[in-house]
């Protein structure tokens, strides 16, 4: 494999990974703070993509401009979903939590099918057709490297969000509150933290983040009622890989998975590339369950009791 090819695969992988990372940040937050496997996360991504699509289709709003609206809408949806489906199951056995979200995802998918039909919807932005070409740099032995603008934007936004979030969590009071709750719920309670509020805002915040992801992804990917399922599996892989609750981890893991996927695609074959990262997923779970950046021992934690 020559250098150009290698670099091209790497760049393509990183850009794909950026998309994965962006869509998984919300999930890891929810996972880390509330210890809930949000199986319906992919469906909220789908809702966000549809929202952005309809804003473009009906009101000619550019998807990149629709980010704010979609983010707010998803935040509200998150508050609502928390109230009716998540809070009641916080004390329940894990599998009840899992299956409430599974049931929710079935409802959301099919509601989308009923209202918006099974047609594939795309947003085609002409300005994204422009190619970004790096090089050639004959001195380095590199020919042209091509960068997809849509993915680059998603990558940069994802990176910015995670940087912002990292500092938010580390430096701000709210961030510390969230981290405290995530690390030791009982102690946080004792310190007077309103756990219910933390959970509510975290869940809604997680959905808000996936809303941003959806708006950034619709210019590149088609949306249809069952697209959520296709993304949610990768998102889980990314989240576990990166360590539950670690935003930085999710980003690193997303990039890593993207690169692995593209290289597997090329070296082994597109049919088996998913199998590669699923197997890696199992390996990570077994060998280093806390992921690359998670806190060791977290995966052993038993169920949390109800808030009341």
């Amino acid at each position: 494999m020559d250098l150009t090819l290698f670099v091209q695969l790497l760049i393509s992988g990183l850009l794909l990974g950026g998309v994965y990372a962006l869509s998984s940040i919300g999930l890891t937050l929810i996972f880390g703070v509330m210890k809930i496997v949000n199986f319906a996360h992919g469906e909220f991504l789908m809702i966000a993509m549809y929202l952005s699509f309809w804003l473009h289709h009906l009101l000619q709003v550019d998807p990149y401009l629709s980010i704010v609206v979609v983010a707010i809408a998803l935040f509200g949806l998150g508050l609502f979903t928390f109230r009716i489906a998540v809070r009641p199951t916080l004390g329940a056995p894990h599998l009840n939590q899992i299956f409430v979200m599974v049931g929710l995802s079935i409802v959301i998918e099919n509601a989308a099918l009923l209202w918006w039909s099974a047609d594939f919807r795309t947003v085609s932005l002409d300005y994204l057709r422009a190619q970004i070409v790096l090089g050639p740099w004959p001195g380095l032995g590199l020919e042209e490297i091509i960068v997809n603008p849509g993915r680059l934007i998603a990558f940069l936004v994802g990176l910015s969000i995670s940087v912002a979030f990292y500092f938010f969590l580390k430096l701000s009071y709210s961030g510390k509150v969230i981290r405290a709750t995530s690390q030791d719920r009982s102690a946080a309670l004792l310190m007077g933290i309103d756990i219910d509020k933390v959970y509510k805002l975290t869940f809604a915040g997680g959905l808000m983040l996936v809303g941003v992801a959806g708006a950034l992804m619709i210019p590149m990917f088609t949306v249809h009622p069952f697209v959520g399922f296709e993304f949610v599996l990768v998102m889980f892989v990314v989240v576990v890989f990166g360590g539950m609750g670690s935003v930085v981890g999710a980003v690193m893991a997303g990039l890593f998975i993207g690169v692995i996927e593209v290289f597997s695609d090329f070296l082994i074959g597109p049919d088996s590339k998913q199998a590669v990262y699923f197997l890696l997923f199992i390996a990570v779970l077994v060998l280093k369950p806390s992921g690359l950046f998670g806190i060791k021992g977290e995966e052993e934690v038993e169920r949390i009791e109800a808030i009341e």
Binding site: T89, L95, F99, V100, G103, I106, V240, V286
Partner: protein
């Protein structure tokens, strides 16, 4: 439970089984017989899942893998080597059990969410295998079984025969489940499920015990897979290894009530007819509506009857008797 209650329950169970077994004889309608067959198939598969998921508390989302292993193994042995499915199903079962044990050895150290995710990934890997190992499975095109009814082929011209084949499978799974519940294995599994550390402290070999449960669970799931293959006489990845199968089989057990053999049966008896009815009556007028209702039932059950139907009813009965 008081002895008279337990005897009452036993009678009730036997009566229900007799009714269930005799009813198909009076039903000439193929549609309803098909319903019975599916109830038995799902009650068996779900009951098999429950041995690991309910008794041992290890919720697996990868059981589609075992179902697929069963379906493909017996079918391939039948088509390529002429081995009768009656034997082929045991081969499938043993293979599934072996794979399950390996999966257990690798993943049992993980708890709840993580175990669920690991098994999910495993199930997906097997699904990808069935799609892409085309030399073996013919990929998404699937494998058609030749329709030559005979006992040796385990293919029958009459639906009634399939009903009783399914009923037989169901009884086997039921008997296995009851036997486990009453045995030391069952006590150990319950001990593990209720308090893992205490169980270990008391000397229960939790690892071994769970592997046995996994092996039995995988074995029976594979047999259910063979039954599917013989009934539909066509297998393909979308039919036998898709993720929704794993979700469904866990769902029936959970909604029915985990941890006892009744749960999966109740779950199957409720959900299979509901699914068929909803799809038949609403499937075309408002596509998606029947699935929405299905999903809502699941959500509402999880929210308001977290112990599942059987668990909730039993709790209420207990409360009333006090």
């Amino acid at each position: 439970m008081k002895p008279s209650n337990s005897r009452r329950l036993a009678f009730g169970l036997i009566a229900a089984l007799i009714a269930l077994g005799a009813a198909p004889l009076f039903i000439r309608n193929d549609f309803y017989l098909d319903g019975f067959i599916l109830v038995f198939l799902w009650a068996s598969f779900s009951g098999a899942w429950n041995i690991l998921g309910g008794y041992a508390g290890m919720v697996s989302l990868g059981h589609n893998a075992f179902f697929a292993i069963g379906a493909y193994t017996s079918t391939l042995l039948f088509l390529r080597l002429g081995v009768t499915p009656w034997l082929g199903m045991f081969a499938g079962g043993l293979l599934a059990a072996a794979v399950g044990v390996i999966l257990g050895i690798v993943c049992f150290r993980l708890r709840s969410h993580y175990f669920a995710l690991a098994t999910l990934a495993f199930g997906q890997v097997v699904h990808i295998l069935t799609m892409n190992w085309r030399g073996l499975t013919q990929g998404a095109e699937g494998i058609a079984l030749p329709i030559e009814p005979s006992l040796a082929h385990m293919i029958f011209a009459s639906k009634l025969a399939y009903v009783y084949l399914g009923f037989g499978l169901f009884l086997v799974v039921l008997a296995t489940a009851i036997a486990i519940e009453r045995s030391r294995l069952g006590y150990f599994l319950t001990a593990f499920r209720e308090n893992e550390d205490a169980a270990r402290a008391l000397g229960v070999k939790t690892g071994q015990v769970r592997l046995i449960a996994m092996a039995i669970s995988a074995f029976l799931s594979a047999i259910a897979g063979t039954f599917y293959a013989q009934y539909v006489v066509y297998i393909d990845p979308s039919g036998v290894s898709r993720l929704q199968l794993s979700v469904q089989v866990a769902l029936f057990a959970i909604v029915g009530g985990l941890g006892t053999f009744n749960g999966p049966v109740i779950g199957a008896c409720i959900f299979v007819p509901i699914t068929i009815a909803l799809r038949s009556y609403l499937g075309t007028t408002a596509p998606g509506l029947h699935m929405i209702i299905y999903g809502l039932i699941l959500v509402l059950t999880m929210l308001y009857m977290p112990k599942g139907l059987y668990g909730t009813i039993r709790a209420r009965m207990k409360a009333r008797s006090q």
